[in-house]
């Protein structure tokens, strides 16, 4: 590839691809500017007098270069072969060039006031942002950006005498912590100008194929100082990069300079990564940074309010979120009735939320994937962190057991709210109890240079007792074994085996009808994922996944000897889901990337089971059972299968904007059965069976992404539509517990949700934060004509997650080196409510006649939280760092409605009452530490 110029400049121009203009600029800036500067003149003022008669453009340009000593740069094959005829008489050079290029798709820019670049207009616009294009002094503009280093370090890699057939070389890099010599996974390596960005993989390595010559590299990882460096690629080479940890002084953690533009380049629409730093910068509830609270500030993610478990994504139910911690399935993401999430922020390495495009390696849930990865690869140094709060405390330690070979991660949290409840005047409340604990553990073992085995476990227990009337407890137990093995640099195997258990009990502790009711679900999962990077433009994931869903028997037992409750034990349906998948992330060109995948899943319900057959034409109820089919242990009862195509495309419009689209189809074979206002931890899971077919969703997304100010500002506008089949909805007054024929209590239907999400984020500077606004609707239609059953007459109605307007504003203000103020404002339309339209008398009682389901709405929800962090704590030393966080949840004491209910009060007055779970401001203080 030859870059044409009559200037006799002896440089290797082989890397001047049409996609490498930034590289071209850097090259000139650091190595050649002197040569050009010597001939500098003001090209704007050059006057041209020339007669052109049927000459091709190239000849004219050559003539101009020679006659007026103007350095012109272009590629020969860009120039059209057409001849032109024209005359110029003392006309400025830009005018002459404009006229010469008038009927072509070429344009030009004056570079450094002393040379001219001629290139296709689209390339110039894309490669030179508006700022570059209009500014005269590109060199100063480039080098003296406020946040860029004034001197770029240049590193030569490879050997000069080696050649490549296509002019491209392979650069293999390895990242490590420069201080602790520990590996770094997940760092982002960006090659400016080539629009290339990769992440270091599980081997802490990355690989790039790129043209020889000089490239500007930018390496970023949260918690580490960004590295910006020029690299002169002479041939294929290895590169070991050290990143230095970011100092913890607040003024030093300001991310300055150009920020990550992965939101533009990523081929996955609707994907968000959160690090512990992101999470900890959020205003905290009761002093505890929280994963779920953080993702609730993102567009499209919502909750029905305080006291509700889980989260809702784009109008979906909470059971439509695939939640994993170190690959083990999480059945319930909430502690303490949703006030805390189950994730200990001190042990988290990274959280990834997929709410738009879901790659084929994930399946089984139709709305989103929340993939939480834990730390556990610290093989060199002991570290501890934690926090002590008024209601909850936490701690985490990382330590090598065998240096460079075996590491251990331990974490734990405990909540102790009883002492606060004792101060509440309501006797029912002050005799109540709400507590939880959880424990994380992870042992990682390096298996030679190319393998790692990690064993993770998690255990949590929650208990809630309300006065002496009733109580709940629920447990999660997870165990996962993950073996990552680099078979060769282009072929990585990731094998994981996991076990997840979710159990809950509800109990009534007094009286002759005191009882304990138990339910639970177990998941056994085997997944083998192959990561193949043999082709430079392809990243392939292929694998198999097997999930076994084995519920515990539902049990009812007397609470104590006084109880006369009859014990009951009933089996629940088992299910076996297997899937194979293939996903290829393809870089078609520098502007177009695809992620295309296919997942095929096959599911079967397994015995023991009894399938009731009902009389046709009338609603299913226990009186209409005409026969039953009995199946033995693990005998196949019914099976379903489905192909899930996944497709996502990103078209990079400019260096700072892109357009993305995606389509997914997903089959879901498990359902969370609930009939309460909001999901509770005692809700139970039901696998698909003869009557509850798999939930199938088609998700469509499109989004426009645009960054400003060198990626310091991120914006996006996304639209989505989802249609669903086989949504399970409860009938009126369902009996869900101790019921071995749930099909008499539940109906199936269809659903649709759609919305528009707007997001703007300021990533750097003294003030950072984001605003997300979502307009979203979610409707369902439940009708079974064959059995003459319907909800709301079989018409579309709002799902209980239909909240049209959702706004979240998060801000962090770094006041000085040690003080940070954060706030979070949330607004959401009140969720749907089933309310009465009339009253009537029964005896002397007045009761309400409730109208259609979800016909009314709760009052709108809004809340402001603030937190103030003082970095300098009690024992600040070089190694020991601590801070105090003061926070206020619900600053203006808004009594947001959890529900509206209708009854007589103690004065026998009938009316509506608003229940607020948190009806006042809630201050807290937490002491955080790390060493």
């Amino acid at each position: 590839m030859i870059f044409a110029s009559t200037k006799n400049i002896s440089i290797n121009l082989s890397f001047f691809s049409p996609f490498g203009w930034r590289t071209f600029i850097v090259f000139f800036l650091v190595q050649l500017s002197n040569q050009i500067t010597g001939d500098a003149q003001t090209l704007d003022n050059v006057l041209i007098t020339e007669q052109v008669e049927k000459e091709i453009i190239e000849d004219v340009l050559l003539k101009l270069e020679k006659k007026y000593q103007i350095p012109l740069y272009y590629k020969k094959n860009w120039l059209p072969p057409d001849t032109i005829t024209s005359s110029f008489d003392n006309q400025p050079l830009p005018e002459v060039l404009g006229q010469l290029l008038k009927n072509t798709d070429l344009s030009f820019t004056i570079f450094n006031d002393n040379s001219i670049i001629i290139a296709p207009e689209s390339l110039l616009i894309r490669e030179f942002s508006q700022e570059y294009f209009i500014k005269k002094d590109l060199q100063q503009d480039f080098l003296n950006q406020d946040n860029w280093p004034s001197n770029i370090e240049i590193l030569n890699l490879g050997k000069v005498d080696q050649q490549s057939a296509d002019g491209e070389f392979t650069l293999k890099g390895k990242l490590k912590d420069g201080l602790e010599d520990s590996p770094l996974v997940g760092a982002t390596i960006i090659v400016r100008g080539l629009e290339l960005a990769v992440s270091s993989d599980i081997r802490e390595e990355f690989k790039l194929k790129l043209p020889g010559g000089l490239h500007l590299f930018e390496i970023r990882m949260l918690g580490f100082e960004p590295k910006i460096i020029g690299v002169n690629i002479l041939s294929s080479a290895n590169w070991e990069i050290d990143l230095l940890p970011e100092a913890t002084e607040l003024d030093e953690v300001f991310v300055t300079g150009t920020a990550d533009d992965s939101n533009i380049k990523s081929s996955i629409i609707g994907m968000t990564k959160l690090t512990p730093l992101d999470i900890k910068e959020m205003p905290v509830f009761l002093g505890e940074p929280d994963v779920i609270k953080s993702i609730l500030t993102l567009p499209g993610v919502s909750t029905v309010g305080e006291g509700a478990s889980g989260f809702n994504v784009r109008g979906g139910n909470i059971d439509q979120n695939l939640i994993m911690q170190d690959d083990a399935l999480i059945f319930n993401s909430s502690h303490a009735m949703g006030f805390f999430s189950i994730f200990n922020p001190d042990v988290i390495k990274e959280v990834t939320l997929y709410k738009g495009h879901i790659p084929a390696q994930y399946g089984g849930r139709v709305s989103s994937v929340l993939d939480v990865q834990l730390k556990g690869n610290n093989y060199d140094q002991f570290k501890a962190s934690g926090g002590i709060g008024l209601l909850a405390s936490r701690i985490a330690i990382e330590t090598p057991i065998v240096k460079d070979k075996t590491s251990l991660l331990l974490g734990g949290r405990v909540a102790y709210s009883d002492w606060v409840l004792n101060f509440v005047r309501n006797p029912d409340v002050n005799q109540s109890s709400l507590s939880f604990y959880d424990i994380n553990g992870k042992i990682s073992q390096r298996m030679g240079k190319n393998g790692t085995v990690a064993l993770s476990f998690y255990k949590s227990h929650d208990k809630f007792i309300y006065s002496d009337e009733f109580g709940f407890s629920w447990d999660l137990n997870n165990l996962s074994l993950k073996w990552d093995q680099v078979i060769n640099p282009e072929f990585i195997s990731q094998l994981s085996i996991s076990y997840s258990e979710s159990g809950n009990t509800s109990f009534q502790p007094s009286g002759i009808d005191g009882f304990i009711l138990g339910n639970g679900m177990n998941n056994y999962k085997l997944k083998e994922d192959l990561l193949i990077t043999s082709w430079p433009r392809n990243t392939i994931n292929a694998g198999i996944e097997i999930n076994g869903y084995v519920p515990d028997d539902e049990t009812l037992k007397p609470f104590d000897d006084k109880s006369t409750i009859i014990s009951y034990e009933g089996s629940k349906d088992k299910g076996l889901e297997s899937a194979i998948y293939f996903n290829d992330a393809i870089e078609l060109s520098s502007t177009v990337s695809l992620s295309i995948g296919l997942r095929y899943s096959i599911y079967s319900q397994r015995g023991p089971a009894k399938v009731n057959l009902y009389q046709d034409g009338i609603p299913n109820n226990s009186e209409n059972i005409i026969d039953s089919l009995v199946f033995g242990d693990w005998e196949k009862v019914v099976s379903y299968q489905g192909f899930d195509p996944r497709f996502s495309i990103v078209y990079t419009l400019t260096a700072s904007s892109s357009l993305k689209m995606s389509f997914n189809r997903i089959n879901q074979y498990v359902h969370l059965i609930s009939n309460t206002t909001a999901a509770l931890p005692i809700d139970f899971w039901q696998v698909s069976n003869t009557y509850f077919k798999p939930l199938i969703a088609n998700n469509y997304s499109i989004g426009y992404f645009k960054n400003f100010k060198f990626n310091q500002w991120e914006t996006s506008l996304e639209a989505y539509y989802r249609d669903m089949q086989n949504i399970v909805e409860y009938k009126d007054f369902p009996e869900l517990f101790l019921n071995n024929h749930l099909e008499t209590e539940l109906l199936s239907g269809i659903g649709k949700s759609y919305g528009l999400e707007f997001y703007v984020k300021k990533k750097t500077g003294k003030v950072t934060g984001w605003l997300s606004y979502t307009y979203a609707r979610s409707f369902i239609k439940i009708v079974d004509k064959s059995r003459n059953e319907a909800i709301n007459r079989g018409e579309w109605f709002s799902s209980k997650y239909d909240q049209p307007h959702n706004l979240s504003i998060v801000g962090n203000i770094n006041l000085n080196k040690t003080n940070q103020l954060s706030f979070n404002f949330t607004y959401a339309t009140g969720r749907p409510l089933t309310g009465p339209d009339s009253n009537y008398g029964l005896g002397e009682a007045i009761v309400s006649n409730f109208s259609e389901r979800n016909k009314f709405r709760l009052p709108d929800y809004h809340r402001l939280d603030v937190s103030y962090t003082i970095q300098r704590g009690l024992l600040r030393t070089h190694k020991y760092k601590d801070s105090f966080t003061f926070s206020i949840y619900n600053l203006y004491g808004r009594k947001n409605a959890y529900s509206i209910y209708f009854r007589r009060d103690k004065r026998n007055v009938f009316g509506a009452y608003k229940l607020s779970i948190l009806g006042s401001i809630l201050p807290s203080v937490t002491y955080n530490f790390q060493f």
């Binding site: 002759i512 109208s851 529900s899 009316g911 006042s920 807290s924």
Partner: protein, 351 residues
């Protein structure tokens, strides 16, 4: 110091939290539905049904009675007897020509203008007679409307009854009423003090039901079915009865009342089940989509009662201040007890 201060702040804020408050709920539209309320029992007494229409939620007007209907009670042999229109929406079955008997099946037919309604046939179950009533005198506490905890003297009423007779699941509903006598003070030389008998339903806005499904044993002891706040000393000067009416329900009737409990007595916490429209067992035979509210009950009734005297509730009353009708005070009811709309000079049979 900051920690201590914050702790106090936290306690103050939480302890002053008022999580429940009245809410103005104003639906734009109102359903106007027929309501059937009442039933028949095997007891040789007048059985009543009231027909009304529902009123718009939030309006203060009482139910609109339907006075132009005719109601017919029909048994399994298609024998029937019409109810007598007593006015104000009440219709009475006297049993002159059709006796209600245990084991027989009954339904009603209602004619209102051109519309005809019919209830599902129900078999009157075998009554289960309760053994006894017991009571416990105690103090109760509750939070009043301004958020303060108040303690009051109270009597809890318990029923003791057999269940699961012959292995059959027992389904019960209770209503409790109280009655007491009161003798006027001699207010003038010519005044001849009368004795009045007061009668009132207890906890009338609550539905107390029970099912022995999933319960072992054949006896239900000490089932709390009502409570009495002791606020008026007059009620316990003389004899005071608690009368418990135990109704044995059909399975269908129990299902209805179980649902009614869920929507009429929500606990108001996060564990409440979502409410829904509850229709009963009466249907428009020409228009199956018409919503008819209420329930026509075919139930077996048994009554048991207990009498309390002033001495039984000592020492609670001795703590109280002076006698309401003491000389020197003027309270109209002390001289003319019939001014109270719950009073009568007719002495109850059981007195």
């Amino acid at each position: 110091m900051p920690l201590k201060l914050l702790t106090y702040c936290l306690i103050i804020f939480i302890s002053t939290t008022n999580c429940v408050e009245p809410y103005e709920f104003k639906p734009k539209e109102a359903g106007n539905f027929l309501v059937v309320d009442g039933g028949i029992t095997q007891v040789d007494d007048i059985n009543r049904i009231r027909l009304t229409t529902s009123t718009k939620y939030g309006t203060t007007t009482s139910a609109s009675p339907i006075e132009n209907a005719s109601i017919k009670l029909v048994n399994s042999n298609k024998e029937f007897e019409y109810f007598i229109n007593e006015g104000d929406g009440y219709y009475a079955h006297c049993g002159d020509s059709l006796k209600v008997e245990v084991g027989d099946s009954y339904y009603i037919e209602i004619d209102i203008n051109e519309n005809k309604y019919r209830s599902d046939p129900q078999t009157l179950p075998i009554p289960i007679d309760p053994d006894s009533i017991t009571y416990k005198i105690n103090y109760r506490s509750e939070i009043n409307t301004i958020g303060n905890e108040v303690t009051f003297e109270n009597i809890d009423i318990f029923i003791n009854t057999p269940i699961n007779i012959k292995g059959e699941i027992t389904r019960l509903k209770w209503k409790v009423d109280e009655s007491w006598s009161f003798t006027e003070r001699k207010c003038s030389p010519l005044h001849n003090p009368a004795t009045c008998y007061m009668s009132r339903k207890l906890n009338s806005d609550e539905f107390i039901i029970y099912s022995s499904e999933a319960i072992t044993g054949n006896y239900l002891p000490d089932k709390l079915i009502g409570y009495k706040k002791i606020l008026d000393r007059v009620e316990f000067i003389e004899k005071h009865y608690f009368n418990v009416h135990q109704f044995t329900l059909t399975e269908a009737a129990y299902d209805y009342w179980e649902k009614m409990v869920k929507i009429a007595n929500p606990s108001g916490d996060i564990f409440d089940l979502p409410p829904a429209q509850l229709t009963g067992n009466v249907h428009n035979i020409n228009d199956k989509d018409e919503i008819v509210l209420g329930y026509f009950e075919v139930v077996a009734k048994s009554t048991v009662r207990v009498a309390l005297y002033r001495s039984d509730i000592l020492p609670l009353t001795v703590k109280r201040k002076g006698y309401l009708c003491a000389v020197g005070k003027y309270v109209p009811a002390c001289c003319a007890c019939l001014v109270l709309d719950i009073s009568s000079t007719d002495r109850p049979d059981y007195w």
